[in-house]
């Protein structure tokens, strides 16, 4: 068993080095590593789906005909066949039926979820920032909370104005008042800060993965030294 661990660790190191070779450009080793990753992931996912979804949820109910669950199981079975049919007949419009079904459901769920799960709570969060109980503490104004609330309100308004007055192709929406452009610039600053934070987080994540891989390689080398 320890031999197997060493073997797996060695394979991991080799694959990591193959991925690192991308620093020298897109080469054969990087391609091999990518194909291995994609192939193994897809194969594993296919096996899981066959064992845990297709057989128990789609095929097994069909064996219990004429019970109602078996009849209902025909619905996803037919939709699946229509979807698979597109693999053989690219121009077939039958695949549009299950795809339309899926897209329609996803769009409806997304619209409802965004409005109920993001828009309303976020706007409510801005309003709640001005809650008297939050901005007043022990009868004294809580300047930190007040400043934070106003900054939040300023950020929301400025970013909305920025997106309203941004360039749309070659057309720039001209604002009737100059102060609107000023607010739009403030919104651009807020957006820049947000993207900067996201970039920092992305870099931190990548750096952590890099450190983990290098750390494993160093530990492996130390083990043999």
């Amino acid at each position: 068993m320890p031999d197997l661990n060493i073997l797996l660790t060695l394979a991991g190191i080799v694959l990591s080095l193959m991925v690192f070779s991308y620093l020298l450009g897109d080469n054969l080793f990087f391609g091999i590593a990518m194909y291995i990753l994609v192939g193994v992931s897809a194969g594993y996912a296919a096996l899981i789906l066959i064992n845990r979804v297709i057989i128990p949820m789609l095929i097994m109910p069909l064996t219990s005909l004429p019970q109602l669950p078996a009849v209902l199981a025909f619905v996803p079975a037919i939709l699946s066949i229509l979807l698979l049919w597109n693999l053989f007949r690219k121009t077939s419009k039958l695949a549009g039926i299950p795809l339309g079904f899926l897209v329609g459901i996803l769009a409806a769920v997304s619209v409802a979820g965004i409005s109920r799960g993001t828009l309303a709570p976020q706007l409510l969060g801005v309003v709640n920032a001005f809650d008297p109980q939050a901005v007043v503490r022990d009868g004294q104004p809580n300047w930190n909370a007040i400043f934070e609330a106003f900054m939040m309100l300023l950020g929301v308004i400025a970013v909305l104005l920025f997106f309203h007055h941004r360039k749309k192709g070659k057309n720039v929406v001209q604002s009737p008042e100059p102060w609107v452009d000023g607010f739009s610039g403030v919104g651009q600053v807020f957006i820049g800060i947000t993207f900067g934070a996201i970039f920092a987080g992305l870099f931190g994540t990548a750096l952590t993965a890099l450190i983990g891989s290098i750390n494993r390689i160093i530990d492996f080398v130390r083990l043999w030294l």
């Binding site: 949820m57 799960g117 920092a200 992305l202 870099f203 993965a209 890099l210 290098i214």
Partner: protein, 691 residues
């Protein structure tokens, strides 16, 4: 045999018979008529447009198609016309086929070959019917476009010829005619600029055209000429006018204010296109004795120019739609224009005479052009005076459209050939060698820093600040009671497992020690074996099954919002043990995800169905900025995101390597910003220098 003979082409030089599509004679090598000769496409860059079009148009003028005899043909039905074109009448006999130029016959033959099914012929018939129905506006417009193109090409030819022939240039580069114009007006520079900007667009070439010169002359003369020397000048030249004559003369002047179709066709264009263009029917024609009185013709032309009182009025190309038949008033105006031209020829102006004498070559060319135009219109004005168009033109227009169609095809073919070997999809970023080298240096620098930090040994204890959401999560975890259920939702990939697992393992261990029951679910197949790393260590309890929920977010939504039907359980309910009661029995949800999108979808789709169940998250550093608003709004009770804010700290060496890597990246970013500022400043300075 006869067909083969028809397909042979005789060399005009040596008489050798060649194949139909031969470009050169097989005996003498003489260049035969090119396939695209009519399409104005020449391989050796010599523009044959002027000569070929002049020949074409001369052939059109001489063709019997343009005679009145063909008017009857247009009145025939489509089938009869087709039979007539084929040389067969209804009785089956051959008719006298009108003499058609070789090129026209050749084009028609080509169209028949390319369109054997006759769709084009049907289209032509349909087009004729439509033209007759709609007043033939569309085809006339196309005809005008072709004529306009011919004019533009001839104008370019003339410019080139003038540029070559003009050597009368002073030390400032000003031609002689410009100096003469400047002598006419002392403050001519400013006025010249006005004329240039007012009459030309941005693509104006640095040379005066005939029209601009005439425009300038009109301005020069018009300012003085429109102001009579004395109030009685009019009476002086029209001494004994009665009211009727005065009204007639005022009508003439009104007609001259806006000439219907004064265009800038140069003189050689007039040579090339002597047809009775419907547009030209409305031109202010010269008097019939134009040949004998060239001075009057010249004055006539200038009268059309000078007669415009408004300088801002466009001086050129005031054309009436070709499809409009000439109104009787306009025809009358044309007749009157001849009289008015004679009348205006009597208008004196000694200044005008002097200035006319100063205009040398350009005006002479104009005189010849007007004289030729007068001759041409003399031959063609009989059917035009009635306001009717010549039917020969109607028959010729489809051929011209066919020519245009062939020209477009040839142009497309040329473009395709020109694109051969070129990149069809533009590349957004060209990877230059310098960019690759810089990227490699940056990566090696980062690698060296990280490796050095890891190799030099264990580091010191770091007291990193814990973020506010992490504190909130820790507080909530401490409040959990034994027996409560925490639903752990796994949704991360192998690439981020090295960041997430060190964060989530201490949290889960703490919950286990409190006696909290953990339940693992996932919708990612890869997490079925990745999740084993969470309780695979020596500290963990016996292995717990990870339940797979198909459908991703929709599967979670079905379990959270769905209800069990009376007839049994849906397949999605059979995927988990408790079916739709999964969320009902849960006291807390812990999302372990490397995707902020997944957390957001959970908060949007699933959490609203169970608002009493607090939701926590363990994610990567990328998600921190995106999850913070949900924490501020109370939708997320707490979260841990990324290495520095984690509750469970990893090894000190990794922490130091993380700091070293971050420091290197900060330095690189600062250097990059400085370099960018310098580059922008240099480009700005360069732009100012250019300006």
């Amino acid at each position: 045999m006869s067909e083969q003979a028809d397909q042979l082409r005789v060399c005009p030089h040596c008489g050798q018979e060649n194949a139909l599509f031969s470009l050169k004679c097989i005996r003498c090598g003489e260049v035969l008529e090119d396939l695209f000769l009519f399409d104005d496409l020449d391989a050796d860059e010599q523009d044959p447009a002027a000569e070929s079009f002049s020949e074409v148009l001369a052939a059109l003028n001489e063709s019997s198609l343009l005679d009145d005899e063909t008017e009857a043909a247009t009145l025939l039905s489509g089938g009869e016309l087709e039979n007539l074109e084929n040389g067969v009448d209804d009785s089956g006999g051959l008719t006298d086929r009108p003499e058609v130029p070789d090129w026209l016959e050749w084009v028609r033959e080509r169209s028949r070959e390319e369109d054997a099914s006759g769709e084009m012929a049907k289209g032509g018939q349909a087009m004729d019917e439509r033209r007759s129905a709609e007043g033939s506006s569309q085809v006339d417009r196309a005809f005008d476009e072709i004529i306009q193109r011919i004019r533009e090409q001839s104008e370019k030819e003339r410019k080139k010829a003038r540029r070559v022939n003009t050597d009368l240039v002073d030390e400032n580069g000003d031609p002689e005619w410009l100096r003469r114009i400047r002598e006419l007006h002392p403050q001519g520079d400013q006025d010249t600029k006005q004329v240039l900007t007012g009459s030309q667009d941005s693509s104006f070439e640095d040379e005066w055209t005939e029209e601009e010169l005439q425009e300038l002359l009109r301005r020069e003369i018009g300012d003085e000429f429109n102001q009579p020397a004395s109030p009685n000048v009019e009476e002086e030249y029209f001494p004994a006018e009665d009211d009727e004559q005065s009204k007639k003369r005022s009508d003439l002047e009104t007609d001259h204010e806006v000439p219907f179709d004064f265009h800038n066709i140069p003189d050689d264009d007039l040579d090339e296109f002597p047809l009775n263009n419907p547009n030209r029917l409305n031109n202010p024609g010269p008097p019939e004795d134009a040949d004998s009185t060239p001075v009057e013709n010249q004055e006539y032309l200038e009268g059309a120019l000078i007669g415009e009182p408004d300088e801002e009025e466009p001086a050129f190309e005031i054309e009436r739609p070709a499809s409009e038949p000439a109104a009787p008033e306009q025809v009358k105006g044309e007749e009157n224009e001849e009289e008015s031209s004679q009348a205006e020829g009597k208008q004196p102006g000694d200044e005008l005479t002097e200035q006319e004498d100063q205009k040398s070559s350009e005006t002479d060319e104009t005189k010849e052009a007007v004289a030729q135009q007068a001759d041409e219109e003399k031959h063609a004005d009989e059917p035009a005076e009635d306001g009717l168009k010549n039917p020969a033109i109607d028959e010729t227009i489809p051929d011209l459209l066919l020519l245009r169609n062939q020209r477009d095809r040839a142009q497309v073919l040329t473009n395709i050939i020109g694109q051969e070997g070129r990149r069809s999809i533009p590349v957004l970023h060209e990877n230059t060698r310098q960019g690759k080298l810089g990227r490699l240096i940056l990566a090696l620098l980062l690698l060296a820093g990280v490796i050095f930090s890891l190799v030099i040994g264990p580091g010191q204890d770091l007291d990193l600040p814990v973020s506010l959401p992490a504190i909130a999560m820790q507080e909530k975890s401490e409040q959990m009671q034994p027996g409560e259920v925490v639903l752990v939702v796994l949704d991360y990939q192998a690439a981020t497992s090295s960041e997430i697992e060190p964060l989530v393992i201490p949290v889960l261990e703490d919950l286990r020690q409190r006696g909290v029951s953990l339940r693992y679910v996932t919708s990612q197949p890869v997490d079925l074996w990745l999740g084993e790393g969470l309780f695979d260590s020596e500290r963990s309890e016996p292995t717990i099954e990870i339940e797979f929920i198909p459908g991703g977010n929709l599967g979670y939504l079905a379990l959270a919002a769905g209800s069990s039907p009376n007839w049994g359980a849906t397949p999605i309910e059979q995927a988990v043990k408790d079916g739709t009661t999964l969320m009902d029995e849960t006291n807390q949800v812990l999302l372990v995800s490397d995707s902020p999108e997944f957390v957001r979808n959970w908060l949007e789709q699933v959490s609203p169905w169970h608002p009493d169940v607090p939701t926590f998250a363990v994610s990567i550093a990328l998600s921190e900025a995106l999850l913070l608003p949900y924490f501020e709004s109370g939708q997320l009770s707490g979260f841990v995101a990324g290495h520095p804010g984690g509750v469970g700290q990893s090894e000190h060496a990794s922490q130091r390597a993380w700091q070293a890597g971050t420091l290197i990246m900060i330095v690189v970013l600062i250097l990059g910003m400085i370099t960018k500022i310098e580059t922008d400043a240099a480009e700005k300075g360069e732009g100012i220098r250019h300006a």
